[in-house]
C-alpha cells in the first residue's frame, strides 16, 4: 500500500509530498438516494414542503450563483454521468489513487444544515451522515468525515454528535460561517460541549445561508464579493469565540477554519491584542492575550491560498503569527478554486512544508501515520 501511494505521483512529479487533504466535498447523487437514508416518517414532509432556507428560492437556488462550472472543476465530472462529486469510484481514481494522499477529510455541504425547519433539518443531517458513512467512509480506509449537524439548534446538533461520534472515522463536527449569531454566543455552547466530550474539533467551513448580510454595510451584488467577504465572517467568529471566553469554558476544544483564508490572521491578532489591552475591563474573563489563545486553539486550512506577489511575504506570515503549527493543506476537490499540492507550497522550506502537508493535521485530528513522510 505504502509503495503504491508513493509510486504513482513519483512517476509524475517528484515534488509531491505525502499529504492529508483537509477539505474534500462529496455530493449525494439524487433525491432517490437521499430517501433511502431519510427516516420514513419525514418522507411526506420532504416531498410536500421540502427545502426552505433563508434565501427564499426553491430548489436550493442561490442569490450568488457560482459562476465557474457551477462551482466545480470541469474535469471532475465523472464519465458515469453522475453529478460531479457524487461518484465515489471516479473520485477514488482521480483524487485518492493518483496522489500520495494519506487521509482525505470530507466536508459534505449540501442538502442539510441550513433548513428553517429545524427538526426536518435534523432528520436530513442524520440521513446525510448515514449515507456518508456507508458510501464514502466505509469503502476506503483513507477516508475521514465531518459530522453534519443542524447547528442553529444546539440541542439537536449535540444529539447528532453523540450519535455519530462513536465511529472513529468521524474526525470533526461541521459548521458553516454564515450563522444566525456569532459562534461565541451561548446558544452554540452545547455543540462545543458535545464535541469536547468526544474529543472532536469543530471544522468551520466556508458557506451557509443567513439572515445577516455578508458585510456590515449590507448585501453586495456579486458572487466575487460574496466569496471574498466570507473571510470577514471567519474573522468575526474568531473575535466572538475569544471575547465570549469559549476556550476558557471548553479548554480542550479546537476550531479549524476551513477555506476562510489565513493571511489576515496576523493583522487580526495584533488588533485584538491592542484593543483587548485598552478595553480589558469589559471582558475580565479573557485573561490571556487573544493571540495566545488563537495559537493554541485555532487552525487554518490553506485553500484558497492567498498568493502574495512576493514569496517573502508568505514567509513573513509564519513569523508574524508566531507559529508553524497553524496551517493545514487542503485542495477543496472538486471545486473550481482547487489548490494543487504540486504548486501552492512551492518554495516553502521542507520542514515547514511537511508540517503543513501532513504533521499539523495528524496532530489536530489525532490521525495515526499511514505513510512514511520522508
Amino acid at each position: 500500500m505504502l509503495e503504491e501511494l508513493m509510486d504513482a505521483p513519483a512517476r509524475r512529479n517528484k515534488t509531491v509530498y505525502p499529504f492529508i487533504d483537509c477539505d474534500i466535498h462529496n455530493y449525494i447523487a439524487s433525491d432517490a438516494v437521499l430517501m433511502q437514508y431519510l427516516d420514513p416518517k419525514w418522507h411526506n414532509h420532504h416531498r410536500t414542503f421540502g427545502h426552505r432556507s433563508h434565501p427564499v428560492l426553491a430548489f436550493h437556488g442561490s442569490q450568488y450563483p457560482r459562476i465557474a462550472g457551477v462551482g466545480k472543476r470541469l474535469d471532475a465530472a465523472p464519465p458515469s454521468g453522475l453529478p460531479t462529486g457524487a461518484d465515489f469510484e471516479f473520485f477514488r481514481l482521480q483524487h485518492l489513487d493518483s496522489q500520495p494522499l494519506e487521509y482525505g477529510i470530507l466536508n459534505c455541504l449540501s442538502r442539510a444544515s441550513d433548513q428553517l425547519h429545524e427538526e426536518y433539518d435534523g432528520a436530513l443531517c442524520r440521513a446525510m451522515n448515514d449515507w456518508q458513512l456507508e458510501e464514502w467512509l466505509k469503502p476506503d480506509d483513507r477516508m475521514r468525515g465531518s459530522i453534519i449537524v443542524p447547528y442553529e439548534n444546539a440541542d439537536l446538533a449535540a444529539e447528532e454528535i453523540d450519535r455519530m461520534a462513536a465511529d472513529p472515522r468521524h474526525v470533526q463536527v461541521l459548521l458553516k460561517p454564515r450563522t444566525k449569531e456569532p459562534l461565541g454566543r451561548r446558544r452554540y455552547w452545547k455543540i462545543y460541549e458535545a464535541a469536547e466530550r468526544h474529543g472532536l474539533p469543530i471544522g468551520l467551513h466556508f458557506g451557509g445561508y443567513s439572515i445577516n448580510p455578508p458585510t456590515s454595510g449590507g448585501w453586495p451584488s456579486f458572487y466575487i464579493e460574496d466569496h471574498t467577504s466570507m473571510t470577514q465572517a471567519f474573522q468575526s467568529h474568531v473575535i466572538s469565540l475569544i471575547c465570549e471566553g469559549v476556550f476558557d469554558r471548553f479548554p480542550s476544544l479546537r476550531f479549524i477554519m476551513i477555506e476562510g483564508g489565513f493571511a489576515w490572521l496576523p493583522s487580526l491578532m495584533w488588533r485584538m491584542d491592542k484593543h483587548w489591552k485598552r478595553l480589558a475591563a469589559e471582558v475580565p474573563h479573557v485573561i490571556r492575550r487573544p493571540s495566545e489563545i488563537i495559537r493554541e486553539h485555532l487552525r487554518f486550512t490553506t485553500q484558497p491560498m492567498e498568493e502574495p506577489p512576493k514569496h517573502e511575504y508568505l514567509m513573513q506570515f509564519f513569523e508574524h503569527c508566531g507559529s508553524d503549527d497553524l496551517l493545514m493543506f487542503a485542495t477543496d476537490y472538486p471545486h473550481w478554486d482547487y489548490d494543487s499540492p504540486e504548486r501552492v507550497l512551492a518554495g516553502i522550506p521542507d520542514q515547514l512544508k511537511r508540517k503543513i502537508f501532513i504533521e499539523n493535521a495528524r496532530s489536530i485530528y489525532n490521525l495515526a501515520p499511514r505513510v512514511s513522510d520522508r
Binding site: S216, I224, I239, A263, S267, P304
Partner: protein, 357 residues
C-alpha cells in the same frame, strides 16, 4: 504628548482624522429652520451623539482630553491647542461624527447635515486657518447629498465628503453614485470613516455581545466596503475619484489585496468592467489613515507590512483625537524610512487634498 516628545517629528504634519463634537443638539438650532427646531424641542432635544465610543470607556478619550462640560472635542480652543499647538501639526481635518447617517427620516437627516456643516464653517473653520473639515452628507438620499456637496464645494476649507462604513447598502452600489459624481467633479476625495449603523449587524455573522467585539469588527466592515467599491466599478466610472478610509486600520490590507487579485483571476468574467488587478486599482484610488494602528509588538514586522503594501503613497498621518489609541510612543511608529515618513506625515495628504505648503 508634546512636539518635543516625538523629537519634533510631527512638526508640519497634516492630521487627517481628528474629531470635534457637537456640544449639544441645541448648538445646531441657529442653523435649523423653525419646522425642525419646533419638532425637536417638542421631542425633548434629542441628542444625535453617536455611541461609537461608550462615553466613559478608556478608548473614548485620551488622558487630558476630557472636558468639564460637554463631550471631548467639543471645545474648539482645547481642540486647537491639543491637536495643533501641542504637536506642531500644520493642519487638521475635522471629521465630525454626529448621528445624522443613522436617521430613518431622510429629510431630517439632510437638514441636520446642512446644520452641522454651517456650524462647522461658522464656529470652527472660521477660528483657525489650520482647520479643514469634511462635508457631512445624509447618504439616505444621494441626490440631496450631492446638492449639499455642490453647496460647499466652493468653500475650500471643506476638503472631502464624509461617509460612514456601516452603511445602508454597500458603498459601491450605484445608489450612491450621485455622491461620487459630485465629489469627483469638484476634486473632493470621499472619506469613509468608521461608524454608522442602519440596522445591519456590525459583524457579518450577527450581533455581537461586547463593545470590544464591535470595535474589533470595524476592520471587517471596511474590507467589505473596499470589495464593493472595486467590484461595482466605482473607479472605472469615476477615474479621478479618491477614497480615504479613516479609522479603518490598514495592516489587513495586504491580505485582502492578495485575495481580491486571486479571486479576480478566477471570477473576472462576472465583473468585466474590472480590466486590471484589483490591487492596482486600489493603490491608485485608496488612502488610509494611520490611527488606530493595529501594530505588532515588534516594529520590524510593522515595517514588513508597510512594505507589503508595495506603495508608500497610501498612508495618511492621523491621531484620531480625542480617542485613546496610543500612549507615550505617540501616533507615528518609529523606524520608518525617511522618505516614507515624509509622505505619511504630510506629502500624501498634500497630494490628494491639493494642499499647498
Amino acid at each position: 504628548m508634546s512636539a518635543r516628545m516625538l523629537n519634533g517629528r510631527l512638526i508640519g504634519a497634516i492630521d487627517c482624522d481628528a474629531h470635534n463634537a457637537v456640544p449639544s443638539v441645541q448648538a445646531l438650532y441657529p442653523y435649523l429652520s423653525a419646522y425642525w427646531t419646533d419638532l425637536m424641542t417638542d421631542g425633548g432635544h434629542p441628542s444625535l451623539e453617536p455611541n461609537y465610543y461608550p462615553v466613559n470607556c478608556a478608548l473614548a478619550a485620551r488622558p487630558g482630553s476630557r472636558l468639564a462640560k460637554g463631550p471631548p472635542g467639543s471645545d474648539s480652543a482645547v481642540f486647537i491647542s491639543q491637536v495643533l499647538d501641542d504637536t506642531g501639526a500644520r493642519r487638521a481635518i475635522i471629521n465630525c461624527l454626529y448621528g445624522v447617517q443613522m436617521l430613518h427620516n431622510e429629510y431630517w437627516a439632510a437638514a441636520m447635515a446642512t446644520a452641522v456643516n454651517d456650524w462647522l464653517a461658522a464656529e470652527w473653520l472660521a477660528k483657525d486657518a489650520r482647520l479643514s473639515a469634511s462635508i457631512l452628507v445624509a447618504p439616505q438620499n444621494p441626490a440631496t447629498a450631492a446638492l449639499e456637496i455642490e453647496k460647499r464645494a466652493a468653500d475650500r476649507r471643506f476638503v472631502q465628503v464624509l461617509l460612514l462604513a456601516r452603511s445602508q447598502m454597500p458603498l459601491g452600489k450605484s445608489f450612491y453614485w450621485p455622491i461620487y459624481e459630485a465629489a469627483a467633479r469638484h476634486n473632493l476625495p470621499v472619506c469613509v470613516h468608521a461608524g454608522g449603523g442602519f440596522g445591519h449587524p456590525p459583524m457579518p455573522v450577527g450581533w455581537q455581545y461586547y463593545y470590544l467585539e464591535e470595535y474589533l469588527a470595524v476592520a471587517q466592515g471596511f474590507q467589505g466596503q473596499l470589495t464593493s467599491l472595486v467590484m461595482e466599478g466605482v473607479f472605472s466610472k469615476f477615474p479621478g475619484l479618491k477614497v480615504v478610509f479613516a479609522e479603518s486600520g490598514f495592516t489587513w490590507l495586504p491580505s485582502l489585496l492578495w485575495r481580491l487579485d486571486k479571486n479576480w483571476k478566477g471570477l473576472r468574467r462576472e465583473v468585466p468592467w474590472i480590466d486590471r488587478l484589483p490591487s492596482e486599482i486600489i493603490k491608485q484610488h485608496l488612502c488610509l489613515t494611520l490611527q488606530p494602528l493595529d501594530e505588532p509588538t515588534d516594529m520590524r514586522q510593522l515595517l514588513q507590512v508597510i512594505d507589503q503594501l508595495e506603495s508608500d503613497e497610501l498612508l495618511l498621518f492621523s491621531t484620531d483625537y480625542p480617542h485613546w489609541q496610543y500612549d507615550d510612543e505617540g501616533p507615528l511608529p518609529p523606524g520608518l524610512p525617511a522618505e516614507t515618513e515624509r509622505k505619511i506625515i504630510h506629502a500624501n495628504a498634500e497630494r490628494i487634498y491639493r494642499f499647498h505648503a
